[in-house]
């Protein structure tokens, strides 16, 4: 069984221009009626009086991409989608920058919206990715997903 393993990782933050390019590429797909997009942005949380200035993301890339291939197939099987794109940042992402971009498209909105939501949940729960929250003074703590 040969699966195409697509890379989802991007070194550094995801720029708004990258997102608009991705949106623009769908104008030729005229069966699409609805796009649903989720963006994760790094939050400047306060932790014990210190502000998070950035998050450094690392991954077990081989395992993450295999897992993502499975998730992608299951989502395509469950929802009627025209397409589906996922990008996750690696490296240091500053507060206010975008670190996750999940993009689903369908002829009708319910499929696009539900698929996008489920993808976000699964990415957070199932992908071997770790965020290290780096504070102003250089201290850090390991992010915990809610």
């Amino acid at each position: 069984m040969s699966k195409t393993v697509k890379n989802i990782f991007i070194q550094g933050a995801i720029s708004p221009e990258f997102i608009s390019d991705s949106i623009g590429k769908h104008s030729a797909k005229k069966e699409i009626g609805a796009h649903s997009i989720f963006l994760g942005q790094v939050r400047a949380d306060m932790i014990d009086g210190k502000k998070v200035e950035s998050i450094e993301y690392t991954t077990y890339e081989e395992m993450a991409l295999e897992k993502m291939t499975v998730i992608r197939e299951e989502i395509f099987a469950k929802f009627e989608l025209t397409c589906l794109h996922i990008y996750h940042s690696l490296g240091i992402i500053k507060a206010g920058e975008i670190c996750l971009f999940v993009f689903t498209s369908s002829s009708h909105r319910k499929n696009a919206t539900a698929a996008c939501e489920e993808l976000v949940e699964r990415i957070k729960a199932e992908l071997p990715v770790w965020g290290k929250e780096i504070m102003g003074g250089g201290e850090h703590q390991w992010k915990v997903n809610q």
Partner: protein, 75 residues
Amino acid sequence: MAIRVISFGQLSEITGKIFQAEVQNTDQLAALLRDRYHIPVDIKYMVAVNKKVITNNTLLKADDTVALLPPYSGG
């Protein structure tokens, strides 16, 4: 038999990114992490053998890659 172990997230700060472990199975690896690396008991992690998360004690072969995975926090 030296098994290649890759460590991620918080655990990589304790064990280093990659190390060799003289173990026959994953239970022996868990004991090694506790005894030699003194990994605190409140640090939870999963073990993957060749990228598959295992839940029971698993025999290891020389070319296996074992990964130590703290709770995921992507996104």
